[in-house]
């Protein structure tokens, strides 16, 4: 009889889901918890350690070539004479033109979706579409640029073909960050403007945009900093060329920093690898200052409600 009762108890126990079995040894469980929490911390530190190793490695490798000629010379077959001049010009031109085109397009689309769009099937479709575009691999945009801009519109392997391709790559990022910035402005501001007789566009232009400009610009800079490091779509449209002249206009062929770095990494000689590392230092310095600018803008312009 006693045996029978014991059996029922143990089978009931087994029937319960695992976490609910009462384990009284609290001290042991606390030790286990401590150990696992340390393991989790180590996981993060491993990522950070990797980052630091990468930065230190690149810096040590690239330091010898980080000299004035790096900025003034064109690429060359001889590592001692090679520089980033054409790549720097290409990256600056590409980013300025991309910013000019993508800012109105991206911010405009963000404003439409957040402030004007009726809640209907079309809007929902556009929203899902933007979310999906953010997940499309960037090299696919390169194929689009190759088929549409380079061949279709006959722009060739020109800077403007690169600018249009890059615009499409970063557009989803700008739209999403613009919408977030607009959403941060409280509804009361909108209601106040409308109550005073402003039209919807006047409300957006004179009030909502003014207050959200800090967030919008921050998102814009972060999107551009993604674009400046982007390599694959530009290689696909054929921007990997040896360029030993100054860029004069949007119809010229061009190269950019990350492509020049890729080109040097692909060389078998050790000296070119070091040259690539010095190029990476320049690229990371540009990225870092853009991010610092974004953080500064966010702190300065962002309103707290």
């Amino acid at each position: 009889m006693t045996k029978g009762i014991q059996q029922t108890t143990s089978s009931e126990r087994r029937a319960l889901p695992e976490p609910f079995i009462f384990e009284p040894n609290l001290d042991r469980r606390k030790v286990i918890a401590r150990i696992w929490e340390s393991v989790a911390l180590i996981a993060i530190l491993l990522g950070i350690g990797m980052l630091l190793t990468l930065l230190v490695r690149v810096f040590l490798d690239g330091l010898p070539y980080l000299r004035p000629q790096l900025f003034t010379e064109f690429p060359s077959r001889f590592p001692d004479k090679a520089g980033l001049r054409s790549a720097l010009q290409g990256s600056i031109w590409l980013m300025v033109l991309t910013a000019l085109i993508s800012f109105p397009l991206g911010v405009g689309a963000g404003i439409y979706l957040e402030e004007f769009a009726p809640k209907n099937v079309v809007t929902r479709f556009i929203e899902i579409n933007v979310a999906n575009l953010a997940g499309v691999p960037s090299i696919i945009y390169g194929l689009l640029g190759l088929g549409l801009f380079v061949r279709g519109l006959g722009l060739g392997r020109s800077l403007i073909a690169g600018v249009l391709t890059m615009t499409l790559v970063i557009l989803p990022v700008i739209i999403v960050s613009t919408r977030e910035a607009l959403r941060a402005v409280p509804t009361s501001i909108r209601e106040a403007a409308l109550a005073l007789g402003a039209s919807r566009w006047e409300m957006v232009r004179d009030h909502v945009l003014v207050y959200s400009m800090g967030g919008i610009l921050t998102g814009m800079i972060l999107a551009l900093s993604r674009g400046i490091g982007e390599t694959a779509p530009l290689i696909t449209i054929g921007a990997l060329t040896y360029i030993a002249f100054d860029l004069r206009g949007p119809l010229d062929i061009f190269t950019v920093l990350p492509i020049q770095i890729f080109n040097w990494v692909s060389m078998p000689q050790e000296a070119f690898h070091r040259l690539a590392a010095s190029g990476i230092i320049v690229l990371l310095a540009v990225l870092l200052s853009m991010n610092a600018l974004a953080i500064w803008l966010r702190n300065r312009l962002q309103k707290r409600w």
Partner: protein, 317 residues
């Protein structure tokens, strides 16, 4: 709604204010024009998707006019740039999946542990110190990871496993794992963060330790969100280009050995793009066929991730 209130205003305006009537008309016109222009801007994203599908489909259709489906899906070799051309896609898919799987083996445990630490264990101050590092890790251009894989990870692997080839899948996979680690970590953290406080408090009240609450209550509750994060990260790994183009090699083959040189779909597109391939040739069309395959794979994963996130939202709203 706004427009109709203007209308009322206009009809009731005394003649002294008649000049404002024309102003109102101008404002209404401006309103309509601005709205139309902004709508067109929003449509650009839809046109981009249509453009991608159109361009990929057009060239892929031309490709399949010259190469049969059977060759594409049944052949086991991919040699379109050689004299004896073979068009079996599987070696490229094999390389892609091998590297992506390796990257996930690195990024999944580390990312999930990092997310648990950030969301459940770390104090606000520790969080604020650690978070920027992960953000920097996410912001580093992929060509830099490629450089790191080739000049640091590969020599390291070769000193441990001497049979490792100069270009190999493992090195690219490890670098890619650290590249997608922040994606896994921050998306999983969002999912954990969304679990209601009451669930945690209930578990604490039953005497669970902090780690038990995290792993036996919070993680299972956020499971679909975490799964969505994993799928999204895997999709990014599959579409990643520069790391594999630099460090993984250009030899498409069917192998599961990560220490060998392989070629991914993205690396093949880069390889062809580096040469000046004339428009209309079969080589030119192959990159669109491979691109189509890549697009469909990532699209499928993005949709799966989206559906999971939506399901996850429904549970706790």
């Amino acid at each position: 709604m706004v427009t109709s209130s203007y209308e009322k205003l206009r009809y009731r305006t005394p003649s002294a204010l008649a000049s404002s009537t024309s102003l109102t008309r101008r404002r209404r016109a401006e309103e309509q024009i601005v709205k139309a222009v902004l709508f067109v801007f929003a449509l650009v994203s839809v046109l981009t998707t249509l453009g991608i599908i159109f361009v990929l489909f057009q060239e892929t259709a031309l490709f399949f006019r010259r190469v049969s489906f059977a060759q594409f899906f049944l052949d086991t070799r991919w040699t379109p740039l050689f004299v004896s051309k073979r068009f079996g896609i599987w070696p490229l898919v094999n390389g892609t999946v091998l590297v992506a799987a390796g990257a996930m083996i690195v990024a999944l445990p580390l990312g999930l542990l990092a997310a648990i630490f950030m969301s459940e264990v770390a104090s606000e101050r520790v969080r604020r110190v650690l978070k920027p590092f992960l953000e920097i890790l996410a912001g580093i251009p992929t060509v830099v990871y490629g450089y790191f894989a080739l000049t640091f990870i590969t020599p390291l692997l070769r000193s441990i496993f001497p049979q490792t080839q100069v270009f190999n899948a493992a090195s690219a996979a490890i670098a890619m794992g650290f590249m997608i680690l922040p994606t896994v970590a921050s998306l999983s953290e969002d999912a954990l963060y969304a679990v209601p406080r009451s669930l945690r408090e209930a578990a604490y009240a039953l005497g669970a330790t902090r780690w038990e609450v995290a792993t036996q209550v919070v993680v299972p509750a956020a499971f679909s969100g975490i799964a969505a994060a994993f799928i999204l990260a895997a999709s990014r790994a599959i579409g990643e280009t520069m790391i594999v183009a630099i460090a993984a090699g250009q030899q498409p083959k069917l192998t599961l050995n990560p220490l060998e040189s392989i070629e991914t779909m993205t690396a093949y597109i880069v390889q062809v793009s580096l040469g000046d391939t004339p428009h209309g040739t079969l080589e030119y069309q192959t990159i669109f066929a491979v691109g189509m395959m890549l697009f469909l794979m990532t699209l499928g994963m993005n949709i799966a991730s989206y559906l999971l996130t939506r399901r996850f939202r429904e549970v706790y709203e």
